[in-house]
Symmetry: C2
Subunit: 481 residues, 2 copies
């Protein structure tokens, strides 16, 4: 039916997927392909349009869920039998338009891609920022769940700030870090992610600017942007964020904030020493800027205890402190906390009510059981030993296979080694080649364009064998580039 | 020290709390009250300013968390000893400004007040939209939690759409309602609340208009507004939303949506009959408007099964369907679902990742255990019997004590009786008087100004004795008004 063969244009903003979707949609809406019309088989269509078969599969699935085509697995795909009624009813909401113009922006495609790849158990994960399942304290967790289940009475409406005994035990836990606070000044959140999001929505004016480490954690960057916040990068040296670069923000008045990951920074692994923490906090105090301290890796020190958080220092009430059990215990529990003054916490709790009507109660009870006694601290001691072995092994592998052609700093905790591949010109290329061989890394380029010769390697998730294979292949591909 | 006695002004927008806070803050910042200055005792201050003592207590607490005053329980409250260092450090972030101007708006004060009152176990709750703890299937829930705990292996990163087997079992459950869908078209959310919020952020342009039942559920109204959506009320008759009022929205193009609670509507209890559902859906289809169908009370029918949802009707792919276990099983579990086409669900899942990094896994496993077999359906049969008894009892009490001076329709399910207090001129007054006697109702005025003679009474939460006492007192106070 198609006389001149159309193919997608690779030099536009529109994705190949979108172009094909609209091309096929047009054929149907215009009636060119009538009700019951049998579509060209997937394989053939892929060839004709010169795209991968999986692209066609995805587009067809979307056309199906839009109601334009139908067909069971195995049998041919056809234009929906009652397509005319469907179309004259005019009953097609323009989802594309709505998605594109909605209040929150879509994630950049590379984030979605990496996120999906991180869920693929066939890929060697040098990327996942998460403890391996082998670390998971299965028996303790089962025991605690049993205990919590046994004492379950009622799961009703609760204080939006979170389960009170949990907030008490978090307050006690934070005391170990030198933070003096009370349950009223703590909000239990769905991980650190939600804390950051609530801060963005509840304390920042639309169009405000957040100054943050360059490079910085991808998702928090994106979450701020989605909410309508501008980002400005602040350079780092080997001690973290450079105070001088944030010394002159008075013009922003109440429309700016600082966001930093001072302990085992994602992606560089850098730890801010106490003196630098002092200087950063002082800069914030002088300019009346809130400081968002994202401290999710604090408990994961390997060589020596993490320096005290800025929240614990004099002037700490300008600090919005964000923590979580995701990195040290389990990301699937979704328990984090935000610490701030009471007025701020109430504001954030109010927004949390609007967003999710409060956190689920069971995971809070479980987190409470972990934190109330010495359970969690004892567990951490084990974790640190295991993390050290993995870190040392990855360092050894790097030395063995990349010594001389790459350089790195030894991280003293956390999950990451930030490797400078000296002469590598396109880490994106390397990323694709590794992926082709079943290995996932974070190319520095997704953090910042000028990091085209860095990779973030995580030693927390892959097995020893996988770490070895990953580095061997990385070295091979690097030399081939 | 204060020559002319200042008192708060009751005729301004600023709350009494804010005024007193700023008044005291000024005394300290200006140096009028120097470091170590001993504040007037609370009781005296309350008298001088002619406010309730609890207001003073709250203000002082906030001044304390701002670092301006100090003092242990029992001893006098004083201006912070190192207040000068504190002030010249300039280290006070202007939280007030930030809270007031942030992206999300604060909840209206009455919402916060009612929300707090609903958590007060000393108050008779004719307000809480929740099953009484006596309904809670404690033993089944314990057993299920034990089971889930026993089989726990790992709580790691998961598909942002939610636990796959749960989505499968939700799809099966929805089939009972006539909705044909697949796990790919289902997003597990933190209750219906999060579903509504994701729809607002992910499918509506800033400044869009949502047309909704008048009156309608308070929190969803507020959640849409917080996100920057305009609301327009649509009148209801005894069959629910009136289609004629939404027949002419073409000018809004892609910048409008319809939101309705067709089954056991909150607050009126109205059920849309099938013919009305058809007309509403048709209006949406003709104008290519998405229809947000909030169906959280569906499973709670008492007299006869709820009519099929609009999502199940022809053209149902324009419907964004929102459901939850909060009303029928437990609000503290925080399990809900949104059903839409795959493209939309992926968009919403992407935003969910940004907001909370996914739902907690354990509650999803528990919900799965409830939904996978006949457990939940059998449980519902019990609940319906108990709900019927309570509804009938409340109707009997109304007849006995308010017959002739009030009128109502018999709800055929859900939690609410929407009572017209005929001649009552200020239901807000009545609300305050009842509160004074330890009874909480929802005055119609919080739903809509012109409902000054309605109350929403919930028969789901209070005990029989409490229901009786509540209605007796309501009748007494009504007669006194
Ligand atoms: C710096 C940082 N903050 C926050 C998070 C998210 O933590 P959570 O799972 O507690 O939301 C991560 C996870 O990668 C992270 O690296
Ligand atoms: C109509 C309606 N939608 C949504 C909700 C909130 O439900 P969830 O707890 O599942 O977020 C309620 C609760 O009162 C409600 O009445």
């Amino acid at each position: 039916m198609v006389c001149e063969i159309w193919t997608p244009n690779r030099n536009t903003d529109k994705s190949i997927h979108q172009q094909i979707f609209h091309y096929l949609e047009d054929r149907i809406i215009t009636g060119e392909w009538p009700a019951g019309y049998k579509l060209t088989p997937q394989r053939k269509l892929a060839e004709e349009l010169n795209v991968h078969r999986s692209t066609i599969v995805n587009v067809l699935e979307d056309l199906k869920s839009s109601g334009l085509i139908e067909g069971q697995k195995g049998s041919a795909t056809r234009v929906t039998t009652n397509i005319n009624a469907f179309l004259t009813n005019g009953n097609r909401v323009n989802w594309d338009f709505r998605i594109k113009n909605a209040i929150y922006k879509e994630s950049p495609p590379f984030l979605k891609t990496i996120n999906n790849l991180e869920l693929d158990s066939n890929i060697i994960q040098l990327s996942r920022a998460e403890l391996a399942d082998g670390f998971f304290p299965k028996y303790q967790m089962r025991e605690i769940t049993r205990l919590v289940g046994e004492n379950l009475n009622y799961l009703g409406k609760e204080d939006p700030k979170g389960y009170f005994p949990l907030r008490e035990s978090i307050a006690r836990h934070l005391k170990n870090y030198g933070i003096n606070t009370s349950p009223d000044c703590i909000l239990v959140t769905s991980g650190a992610t939600q804390g950051l999001q609530l801060i963005a929505l509840g304390l920042l004016e639309k169009g405000s600017t957040v100054f943050l480490d360059t490079p910085s954690y991808l998702y928090s960057r994106h979450a701020f942007q989605s909410a309508g916040i501008n980002l400005r990068g602040v350079s780092m040296d080997e001690k973290g964020m450079i105070p001088f670069e944030i010394c002159n923000l008075r013009n922003y008045q109440n429309r700016a904030a600082i966001y930093s990951i001072p302990s085992f920074h994602n992606p560089t692994g850098i730890v801010m020493p106490p003196s630098r923490r002092n200087s950063i906090l002082e800069m914030c105090l002088k300019q009346r800027l809130p400081l968002i301290e994202d401290d999710v890796y604090r408990d994961l020190w390997i060589d020596e205890p993490t320096p005290p958080p800025m929240k614990s220092m004099e002037g700490g009430n300008s600090v919005l402190y964000v923590g979580s059990l995701s990195k040290s215990l389990s990301p699937g529990l979704r328990i984090g906390w935000t610490v701030a003054n009471k007025q701020v916490i109430e504001r954030l709790a109010d927004i949390k009510l609007q967003l999710d009507n409060g956190s689920s109660i069971l995971p809070q009870h479980i987190a409470y059981e972990w934190l109330k006694g010495q359970f969690y601290n004892e567990y951490l001691m084990e974790i640190r030993k295991k993390l050290r072995v993995r870190r040392d092994f990855l360092l050894y592998m790097l030395e063995k296979h990349l010594g001389g052609i790459a350089s790195w700093k030894v991280p003293t905790g956390g999950f990451f080694i930030w490797v400078n591949l000296n002469k590598c010109k396109s880490v994106h290329h390397l990323y694709l080649r590794l992926l082709n061989r079943g290995i996932l890394i974070h190319p520095g380029s997704i953090y910042n364009e000028d990091r085209h010769n860095y990779v973030r390697l995580s030693f927390s998730y892959a097995s020893m064998e996988e770490l070895e294979e990953g580095i061997v292949v990385l070295a091979e591909e690097l030399l081939k580039l």
